[in-house]
Every structure is written in C-alpha cells, then in structure tokens.
Symmetry: C2
Subunit: 158 residues, 2 copies
DNA sequence: TGATTAGTTCGTTACTAACCGAACTAACAA
DNA sequence: TTGTTAGTTCGGTTAGTAACGAACTAATCA
C-alpha cells in the first residue's frame, strides 16, 4: 500500500511537470493528494519526499502564490507548525479560468488578422485565420454558460 | 510597418513560449503568420530572424513533427527550395483535441480517488476531489458536441 | 535568558535547453 | 565531374533552472 502510494505520487509528479511545475512541486501535490490525513507538515514533506528544507520551502511558496494557490495551509492553536494541503477550490477555480487562456490567443490572433487586412495581405490565408478565430470566439462565447450549467447541476445534486 | 511586424513576431513568440515552444520556434510561427506571401523559405527565415541554419533546421523539424504539425512545407516544380507555412488546419485540429488533455488528468485523479476510497481515507477530502472530477467529466461529456456544433455552424455559413 | 523549533535566505553545484558555427550530405546544374 | 545550393548533423558554448547545505531569523518554550 505504501509502495502503491509512492507510485501515485510519482505519476502525479510527471503529469504536473507537463503542466509546467517543477518535479518537486509535482511530487508535493502528489504527496498531499494521497496523504492521510489530507495535509502534511513541512518536515513530513521533507522526509517523505527526501528533499531539502530549502527546496520544499521554495516550492511550497511557488504553489501557494504563482502556482494558482493550489496549496494552502492552516494552523492549529498552540502549535507552531503549518499544515499544508491541496486547495481543491482553488484548483477548480483555476481550471474554470481556462477561457481566459483562450482569450489571450484570440486577442493576439485578432490583432494579427487586423494587420493583415489593413495591409491587404494574402486573402486566402487571412480567411483561414478567420476560421480559426471563429473557433476561439465560439468557445469563448459558449464556455461560460457551460460552466454555469455545471454549477447549477452541482447545486441540485446536493 | 516593418517595425510593427517585428513587434508582432516577438509577441507571438512570447505567447507560444508560454505554450511550451522554444523562443525561436515561437518566432518562426510569428514570422510565418505575418509574412506576405504567407510562406517563407529556409534562408529567408534565417535572415529575417537572425538565426543560424542549424537552429532553424532543428526548430522547423520540431514544429513539423512534435509541435503538432503546426508548420508544413510545399515545393514548386523545378525548384529545390522548400516553402514553409503555418498549417491552420493542424492548428485547429490540435486545439480541438483539448478534451484529451482533460482526459489524462481526469483518469489519474479518478484512480487516486479509487485508491482513497478503497483505503477509506478521509471522506471530506475525497468528497471535494469528487466534485473536481465531476467538473472534468462534465466537460469531457459536453465539449465534443460543442465542437460539433461549431463545425455545423461553419458549414452553414459557407 | 538561553535553547529549540519552524521555516527562510543565500551562495553553490549539477543538469538541461537554446543556440551557434563548421563540417557534412544529397540533389541538381554546368 | 565539378561546383553550387538547400538543408542536416555534430560538438561545443552559454544561459537558465532545480536542487542542495549552511547560515540565518522569528517565534516559542523552559
């Protein structure tokens, strides 16, 4: 069972690395997803992941700030330690912001198309860019209400 | 106008770097998006981007294979040169595959939840993971038909 | 006040990725 | 067959990133 857990931690590590996190940041996420109880102290993370305090410190900071607040911590009265855990809420909030990513590509591509048309550059190519843009715009239009639809479904299920 | 074009090329470069491409790969995409006609030879790319032949060669290969076929080339009879251009079709095909990315995260998270439940780990945390999973699953369910809806819209507009 | 604990900061090392130039190959042209 | 052009491959340099240990700080405890 412990061995299986470690395998999961590494697999989560690989997945999250592909999302732009460092290997250790990925393993922290993995460890926190699989630990029981679902939070760990600083020292426990160092020991479990065989990592130095400095590396754990750096990566926890990253995950709490830049890393979209994927990790957060709580404290207990009369206890100096911090207890680190995954914030599923922030995780969800982050993936719901996916349309914003689209928006950025969309905007730049739109500007480029504007430039091409203003300078009367090759029409056929501009036309195919327009098609691509229309896809982005369609998604930008539809995704928010799709997300809302899910929100409502979730409320009803409760 | 030429200056404005270069600014665009760099901006595209930065955007695509954020998507995991190398700086030069990003600039190649930018140059090809803005060039008139909408294709360039190997040498023209070297010169325009002030890059070495080897770097251009490596990055074009990447963009044609691993890079989801974002770039392709064509040839002209009686002309040894290759003409490189953006494949908007492949670009579109690639973003339409977005649900597959979801699928991978979804599968791993599902396995983890299975592990947690099999070992009767903290119920509240597992419950919130379930909520996250339900979002992924909802999107996986709805996105394909949304994409199809766009396809139909496009056909009608023609 | 001094000792301990929790976590941070800093300087270094090891590794990887991006890019370059030079030498090379394959195809055609003279 | 020799030269030229288009592009590739290889080895090396440089820049950037991940991680470490040691020294430090801030808070608590005795």
């Amino acid at each position: 069972m412990e061995a299986q857990k470690k395998v999961f931690v590494e697999r989560v590590g690989v997945r999250t690395e592909m999302m732009g996190y460092s290997p250790l940041a990925g393993r922290i996420i993995g460890a926190l997803l699989l630990s029981e109880p679902p939070y760990m102290t600083f020292d426990a993370l160092c020991e479990y992941l065989n990592a130095s305090k400095s590396s754990i410190s750096t990566n926890l900071h990253f995950l709490m700030k830049e890393g979209t607040g994927l990790v957060e911590y709580f404290t207990l009265p009369g206890d100096r330690k911090r207890y680190f855990k995954i914030s599923i809420d922030n995780w969800l909030r982050h993936i719901k912001e996916m349309p914003k990513e689209f928006q950025n590509s969309n905007d730049l591509l739109g500007e480029i198309l504007g430039y091409r048309e203003a300078n009367q550059l090759d029409g056929e190519f501009s036309h195919s860019i327009k098609k691509l843009l229309s896809f982005y715009e369609f998604m930008l239009d539809k995704l928010p209400s799709l997300i809302e639809e899910w929100e409502e479904k979730i409320i009803l299920e409760k």
